[in-house]
């Protein structure tokens, strides 16, 4: 070979060299392009926030694999407005701040070559309060998202996915009209892969959750409530949900507050006292955002965890009659503190169902089989779940920031503190929840407004399974003056 080339001198030889150079150049370009593609598609970069409160509201937990990508998320309310209860995502009770184009509870991360959107703690644990029907809402982080329609959000996504218009041809122009600046690779990706994958993923989630949220026999969760644990059976464990008896599919519970976690270490947490590890509570909730054991951004969660341990409850924002509150404090210590104070004897312990007498559905739908299956979550990792247990009642919760945690009882069936101090038969049989205007008289949210500002509020009917407002009779036999004092004191917690 060498000899032949040596013989071929002159023009023929330099032509050969020219081809070789060209080939090498092409090879280099291809390698560089491949490297570019690898980098583009393996980048995993969340949008980060130095300020911890911003991180809580908008930071990423690594749940972007479960939510539609950014441009799809933006396009859906524009393409399918009829599937929302009102105008825009706001109609679901999402909270928007000035200068942010995504609501609180949503994170952004560059993942798999796309701009992804994820959910975080703030999604279910950020509440709004308004002083009057015309005030601007005040936002409180860590507060129950009492105004939020999580079931409505899932139903919206699923309705869009079923709709025949959910196609690349229909969606790409909308995304671009909203500001998406796609290069040819993006456009090809969305056209040939992403939009169809997202649709498929939503349809699969719809299938798994249909027994819970598209089932005529299962009452709606309503604003500010979620069936805490049944979704794990459907999503993480893929139980055949339609084979579960209907009663086990019912049992929504109020979103709780998540502030002030440090003194809660060792107390039995969740409404039914099923876990006494704050870490497991947080890791379990992280799975609820759509993060998985391998996608979870542990450093990000750790930041939030550390902050929540010390983050104090918000102070009652309206005037307090301190003299009356002082009288109430005496009553509180006599009647309530043994169960509800951090130093109380029964704090964080479970009161058996027969004794507490509140609605049983939530307790019963957290089943023994789920409890033991949860011990397989995070398998292979040092933080594999080991603390879940099945209890026989509901746990005594601390009342820090209780003013902001209405409605009351685990199923949010009692609108105000004043109503809770009435006998069940005198508590409202029907009221509306999700309205964020505060009721200073009765301590809780105004609960007799079915509709306002174009938003329908959720009708709580105590005869509906899961919504019973009985039980917790403590304090119902106090005198009216005593009740006034006690309520005044509880504003200070």
């Amino acid at each position: 070979m060498n000899d032949e080339i040596a013989r071929d001198s002159g023009s023929a030889g330099s032509q050969h060299k020219g081809w070789r150079r060209a080939l090498i150049a092409i090879a280099i370009v291809l390698v560089l392009f491949a490297a570019y593609l690898v980098r583009r598609f393996t980048r995993n970069e969340p949008v980060v926030y130095d300020n911890i409160v911003e991180h809580y509201k908008y930071g990423s937990l690594g749940s972007e694999g479960f939510s539609p990508p950014y441009w799809v998320f933006k396009a859906l309310p524009v393409m399918f407005p009829e599937y929302l209860p009102g105008k825009g995502y706001q109609s679901l009770g999402f909270v928007y701040e000035e200068g942010h184009d995504l609501p609180i509870g949503f994170s952004r991360r560059r993942l798999n070559g796309l701009d992804g959107v994820g959910l975080n703690c703030a999604f279910c644990h950020t509440g709004t309060v308004r002083d009057t029907p015309t005030s601007k809402p005040r936002i409180y982080v860590g507060m129950p998202a009492h105004q939020f329609d999580i079931e409505g959000y899932f139903k919206f996504l699923f309705a869009c996915a079923l709709d025949q218009r959910f196609t690349p041809d229909q969606m790409i122009p909308v995304m671009e009209s909203l500001g998406a600046d796609f290069d040819p690779i993006d456009r090809a990706l969305y056209r040939y892969v992403v939009i169809n994958q997202v649709r498929l993923g939503l349809l699969q989630a719809r299938d798994r959750l249909s027994a819970l949220i598209l089932n005529p026999e299962v009452p709606p969760w309503g604003l500010g409530r979620v069936d805490t644990f049944n979704p794990y059976k459907a999503l993480q464990l893929n139980y055949p949900m339609h084979e579960i008896p209907v009663n086990e599919l019912i049992g929504p519970a109020d979103f709780p507050q998540i502030w002030n976690q440090a003194p809660r270490e060792g107390l039995y947490l969740h409404w039914d006292g099923n876990n006494n590890s704050v870490d497991e509570r947080n890791l379990g909730a992280a799975l609820g955002t759509g993060a998985t054991p391998t996608s979870l951004d542990y450093a990000s969660l750790d930041r939030i965890d550390k902050w929540l341990r010390e983050f104090p409850p918000p102070k009652y924002p309206y005037p307090i009659d301190q003299a009356l509150a002082d009288k109430g404090e005496v009553i509180y210590h006599a009647q309530c503190s043994s169960c509800h104070d951090f130093d109380g004897k029964y704090i964080g312990t479970v009161i058996p169902l027969e004794k507490i007498g509140t609605d049983p559905y939530r307790l019963h739908n957290y089943t023994y089989d789920l409890t033991v299956n949860q011990a397989t979550l995070y398998a292979g990792m040092p933080w594999r779940f080991t603390h879940w247990r099945k209890s026989d009642g509901y746990a005594c919760q601390a009342l820090d920031g209780i003013w902001a945690r209405a409605p009351y009882l685990h199923n949010g069936s009692v609108p105000t503190l004043r109503a809770l101090l009435e006998l069940p038969e005198n508590r409202p049989a029907v009221f509306y929840r999700g309205y964020d205007v505060y009721d200073q008289e009765n301590v809780g949210f105004v609960s007799n407004v079915p509709e306002a500002d174009g938003r329908k509020y959720f009708r709580m009917d105590r005869t509906v399974p899961g919504n019973d407002n009985g039980g917790h009779l403590y304090g119902t036999d106090l005198s009216p003056e005593e009740k006034d004092a006690l309520i005044e004191y509880m504003k200070t917690l």
Partner: protein, 480 residues
């Protein structure tokens, strides 16, 4: 001359590199597929519940990561929602695996079975109360055949492949590039083949009545899988038994198993049971099994956890002494001995499934081993067992065809002809497990006495006592 030297050095260098590579690959394969890590539990009870009896190498063994995701990929092959719990596994809160399943690292973490699988009961006071767990009790709620069939169905399904299985594991655990390759090309195909082979070896199960919850066919698997007995059509279905309190049985020379086919020593019972679980003679972990054997000698009998009318029970003790003690109490003339079938009159299928040929085969099975068996025998009847913990051993008779003690004291014509077994809520009224009603039907397995092997005939003792005597007797039996 110079050229050859250069080539020679090149070859030597290449060979050395190749050898190193082969060595490295060999080491990786050995450590990730073969290296066995010891599994030891300090407490004997933990050893019983979770310790290995050597089943992680053959038969039903499944790599842990595959085991974990199978119920999530194939929920339709389980009897109902709840993952493995739907099969009646006894599962302690906070534990990664249920009782009766082991996790032993042989390269990879492998899931095997142990004694506690069929010898751990769950009992619930009512529908909403969580179960109490009783190791060494009969696993009346566990569907052994259902567990086998679940694994067989998964392995037979074309979706049992690397893409689906690794796809289900990936969000939960990052096993790394090398392990993913090993799973894709070795472990997943190997597991599939192992389960399909086992399925074939057990295909005889499909042409005879199902075992049902709480029951197995104890000896046909041994006969057909490794004793060399040609497949016959016998039906050996029998209740799982209690394994507690072995000391009085050993000291009094009682027979073991429903038909008394062994009369000792306890070691033969324990080792043959392990072999029945697919351990091979070469891999029997003799020390671990001896530890379990010692544990069972004095494993306590759980007391009846509900109320007992002590006065009524005392009256019942008199009735018991007069009518039952001869066969069922320590010191009884016939306790622990075989009652001839003509006298006892219960279903003969289980007795017939154990044959003279089986005796010969088992007694010569492991002749070259120091622990070889010599005591297997063929009897024409059923063993009169000690009634220790009888409250927890329902349903009753060897084939579990009579749901409660109250039903046992009725003549066969009055005993239920159809009921559901395996539901673990206790029936304090009739003494046994709840066997009728919507919940029993949902969670239990239907036993129909007209199906071969399920006859509830025989054991007429006590059926002609007065109603008061029967009530007192049942009350007394709660105290055993």
């Amino acid at each position: 001359m110079a050229k050859n030297g250069k080539h020679g050095r090149r070859w030597i260098a290449l060979s050395i590199v190749l050898l190193l590579l082969v060595g490295l690959v060999g080491y990786v394969l050995w450590s990730r597929l073969l290296r066995e890590q010891p599994l030891h539990y300090e407490a004997a009870m933990d050893q019983f519940k979770y310790g290995s009896i050597g089943t992680e190498k053959d038969g039903l063994r499944v790599p842990f990561w595959i085991w974990l995701v199978l119920p999530r990929i194939f929920p339709e092959y389980l009897p109902g929602p709840g993952g493995y719990v739907s099969l009646g596994f006894a599962w302690e809160e906070g534990h990664e695996l249920p009782i009766g399943l082991t996790k032993k690292v042989i390269g990879q973490p492998m899931v095997g079975i142990n004694c506690a699988l069929c010898h751990t009961a769950t009992v619930r006071k009512d529908k909403y109360t969580k179960p109490d767990i009783y190791p060494t009790a009969p696993a009346h709620q566990f569907d052994t055949q259902g567990y086998f069939r679940f694994l067989f169905a998964c392995a037979s399904d074309p979706r049992f492949n690397a893409d689906n299985i690794l796809g289900a594991i990936a969000p939960n655990y990052d096993m790394g590039f090398i392990d993913r390759l090993l799973y894709r090309y070795i472990l997943i195909p190997q597991t599939r083949k192992g389960l399909l082979d086992f399925k074939k070896e057990m295909s005889w199960m499909d042409d005879r009545p199902d075992w049902g919850r709480g029951r197995i066919d104890p000896f046909n698997p041994a006969k057909f899988r490794y004793l060399g007995i040609p497949v016959d059509d016998t039906i050996g279905n029998a209740d799982n038994m209690s394994v507690w309190n072995m000391r009085p049985k050993v000291e009094n020379g009682y027979h073991y198993h429903w038909d008394g086919l062994l009369d000792g020593p306890l070691q033969e019972v324990v080792l043959s049971s392990a072999l029945g679980d697919s351990v091979t003679p070469d891999t029997l972990p003799l020390d671990d099994l001896k530890r379990i054997q010692d544990f069972l000698m004095d494993a306590p009998v759980p007391p009846y956890p509900y109320t007992i009318d002590q006065q009524l029970a005392s009256a019942g003790e008199v009735v018991f002494q007069a009518n039952c003690a001869d066969c069922h109490a320590i010191g009884g003339a016939r306790t622990g001995s075989v009652i001839p079938i003509d006298e006892i009159g219960t279903d003969p299928h289980r007795m017939d499934s154990w044959t003279e040929a089986s005796v010969a085969a088992y007694n010569s099975y492991a002749d070259e081993y120091p622990w070889s068996f010599t005591h297997f025998q063929k009897n024409e009847g059923y063993n009169a067992t000690l009634l220790d913990g009888i409250w927890l051993r329902g349903p009753y008779l060897h084939n579990g065809s009579v749901p409660t003690l109250t039903d046992m004291l009725e003549p066969p014509a009055n005993r239920p002809s159809v009921f559901w077994r395996g539901y673990d809520v206790y029936d304090q009224e009739k003494v046994g497990f709840v066997s009728q009603g919507e919940d029993a039907e949902r969670y239990g397995w239907k036993l129909d006495i007209s199906v071969p092997g399920n006859s509830n005939s025989g054991h007429l003792y006590g059926t002609d006592l007065s109603a008061e005597d029967k009530q007192a007797l049942v009350e007394y039996l709660k105290t055993l």
